[in-house]
């Protein structure tokens, strides 16, 4: 019977399946960070257990660390204690740590691929919902809670029920000014934030095949915003080219054997899915969110929807509340809305290709007066690469703030945050109430749209930039 890649990876990792019980699923890679792990290590300690496979576990500090120069101490005492606790836990349990001063530090979903730890066909988990990012390599990667972090630390396994499958086929060619972020925002706007619940997405089609690994990561990253715990792309030559030679990728004969195995992962001809959707890349515009969940997005040329047009009373209520929180008016155009802050970074769009796109827009220009532009590389490695290319100088010369690597204003738990009532256009993944600071208001968009907005101080269509003619 033909199988999808999701079923193939699942079947290869089932250790045991008792009737009526969830499967015991073997986990190949466990990523750990400071925020969702301390209680799990405490649990191990109280049970007298060890980390069973330190060689399949890797930690970094990303969420609560400041993005100010690393020579400064962590000013927030609770954040400092949390980072210290991670260091102590990793030392005690033998877990390799790329700590906050390490040259390999970075957002956990940026460093896994960089180091070559993220590999096709693997099961990958982390106490972090954006673990879906690693699906870009054809891995089954999903976020877990802290109780599950403890289970994986102790056993390298997890109890899981087989997910349903959801094919997202994106065919056609993206127009200039339209990018991977716009594909995923368009999908979520179409199916809603609960559309993928209980499912794993497989992204396929000619538009997905044409994407770089970094663009595929942007798409898989936001699977969770569409309700799916995981989303993946079958590995291909683009995947292998990205991985080859990375520090933890297989080498020599091991590499050849691995690639041969990875080639068999693609979904079989005739495999069926529980759900399917087709998106035409040719017709996509840059997308911007206007509301308080990532499903509340619209093409940038569109106008803010009216609750009166919503047939479903619950949706109308939610929209009314969202527009109130955002202080936006139905019928207004999204283009031209003023912003106070532009945030370029996060596990969604904090990689080198994202920074190159933004720098290309800002080069030789100055950001709009009164607008704070924060550029936060996704990892120390991305930062070094950007500096080798002179991107930091471009950003600084334009009046943007060039910072150290971390999650920063995507989750706003490290002091990088909006003031109440402020608006940000952000390349991150969540526009929930208060996500970027209590009372802050978020427009989600691509790096191109964010950079175009930085120049004008109001939401701007990147297709109007030089070199982006339709």
């Amino acid at each position: 019977m033909p199988q999808t890649i999701i079923e193939k990876i699942w079947n290869q990792h089932v250790v045991d399946q008792q009737e009526g019980a969830p499967a015991i699923l073997a986990i190949d890679l466990h990523l750990v960070h400071e925020v969702t792990s301390p209680q799990a290590f405490t649990g191990l300690r109280s049970r007298g257990l060890k980390v069973r496979r330190p060689d399949r576990t890797v930690a970094t500090a990303d969420h609560s660390i400041p993005t100010t120069p690393r020579t400064l101490p962590i000013a927030d005492e609770m954040a400092a204690a949390q980072v210290k606790q991670l260091e102590a836990n990793c030392a005690e349990f033998g877990v390799p740590l790329h700590g906050w001063e390490s040259p390999n530090q970075g957002i956990v979903h940026v460093i896994g691929p960089e180091l070559g730890l993220t590999q096709p066909g693997a099961t990958i988990v982390c106490g972090d919902s954006h673990t879906a990012t690693h699906g870009a390599f054809g891995a089954l990667a999903f976020g877990i809670g802290t109780s599950e972090v403890e289970m994986v630390l102790a056993t390298q396994c997890l109890l899981q029920r087989k997910p349903k499958t959801y094919l997202v086929r994106v065919d056609g060619t993206l127009r200039p000014g339209v990018s991977a972020k716009d594909i995923i925002l368009a999908l979520i706007a179409r199916i809603g934030v609960g559309g993928g619940t209980g499912h794993v997405f497989e992204y396929a089609g000619s538009a997905i095949r044409a994407l770089s690994m970094e663009e595929r990561m942007t798409i898989c990253n936001m699977s969770i915003e569409g309700g799916a715990r995981a989303g993946l792309v079958a590995p291909d030559e683009t995947t292998f080219a990205y991985l080859k030679g990375r520090p933890h990728a297989p080498q020599g004969a091991d590499w050849d054997a691995a690639v041969a195995r990875w080639r068999t992962l693609a979904s079989d001809e005739g495999a069926t899915y529980d759900k399917e959707i087709v998106i035409d890349a040719n017709t996509l515009e840059p997308m911007v969110t206007y509301g308080t969940n990532p499903g509340m997005g619209l093409p940038i040329s569109g106008t803010i929807p009216n609750p009166a047009d919503e047939a479903d009373p619950a949706a109308a209520r939610a929209l009314t509340r969202a527009l109130e929180y955002m202080d936006l008016r139905a019928g207004d155009s999204i283009i031209g809305r003023p912003v106070n802050t532009v945030f370029i970074g996060s596990c969604t769009n904090g990689r080198i290709s994202d920074l190159r796109l933004a720098a290309n827009v800002l080069k030789g220009h100055t950001v709009a007066k009164g607008v704070r532009v924060m550029v936060v590389p996704g990892s120390a490695d991305v930062k070094r690469q950007a500096e080798r290319e002179g991107l930091d100088t471009i950003f600084r010369d334009a009046g943007a703030d060039w910072r150290e690597a971390g999650c920063s204003m995507c989750i706003a738990m490290n002091g990088d945050q909006l003031a109440p009532g402020e608006y940000a256009i952000s390349t991150s993944n969540r526009n929930f109430e208060g996500r970027q600071g209590k009372g802050g208001r978020t427009f989600l968009a691509s790096p191109l749209t964010a950079a175009a907005t930085a120049l004008t101080g109001v939401i701007a269509d990147p297709r109007t930039l030089p070199g982006m003619s339709r």
Partner: protein, 210 residues
């Protein structure tokens, strides 16, 4: 840490008729800097409950209304718990005294986290959900009895309804069994699987030749 045990309980309802309530609302991220599970009751729905100076909003957010004090079932809108995987959300709900949540659907990770902390995420058909939401708003004395062993709930009109729960979670919660202990009973199978599937990932050693 002992695994939670759940049996039969009778408690009042609290109406929270919002759709897609995300875990950033349940526990804002700045409360995730804790290294233990204690003291999260005040973080629960913090920014909906408290003013900037830390005083409770007036009128208070629904869970702080005196008339709902001690009520242990939240009746919420669709797709509750969307967003971040933070288990701090069920820790905070549990610390506040929430035993069950009635909705028409839950986000996957939240549902899994809730069950691990003895909170029942109960999915109801839309008409029954709407009825209970109405009762929660209007009849403060109304209680619901949840019987996990029978997977039933008895509503204020005396009717008994079955609710869906997978047999495994039901058994674990009824008997107070621990999922980690359960996995560890399969140690031999885990070892055998690992031997058969050595894999190519090694976090300790770059370029590890095998």
């Amino acid at each position: 840490m002992a695994a939670p045990k759940v049996g039969t309980f009778t408690t009042g309802l609290v109406p929270l008729p919002a759709e897609n309530v995300d875990t950033d609302q349940i526990v804002p991220a700045r409360y995730l800097k804790v290294v233990n599970k204690a003291g999260l009751a005040d973080a629960l729905f913090h920014d909906w409950r408290f003013e900037a100076d830390g005083t409770k909003k007036s009128p208070p957010f629904v869970i702080d209304e005196p008339r709902y004090a001690g009520h242990g079932i939240l009746v919420v809108g669709d797709n509750f718990g969307t967003g971040s995987s933070r288990e701090h959300a069920p820790w905070a709900l549990s610390a506040f005294g929430i035993k069950a949540i009635f909705s028409t659907s839950f986000a996957d990770i939240f549902k899994s986290n809730a069950l691990k902390n003895g909170i029942l995420p109960i999915v109801l058909p839309a008409p029954l959900h709407a009825t209970l939401m109405q009762i929660a708003k209007e009849d403060l004395a109304a209680t619901v009895t949840v019987n996990l062993a029978a997977a039933t709930m008895t509503t204020p009109d005396g009717a008994t309804h079955r609710f869906p729960i997978d047999a495994f979670s039901q058994k674990m919660l009824l008997e107070g069994l621990d999922e980690l202990d359960y996995i560890r009973t399969q140690r031999d199978k885990i070892m055998a699987h690992e031997t058969a599937h050595p894999g190519t990932i090694n976090t300790l050693q770059p370029n590890a030749p095998r």
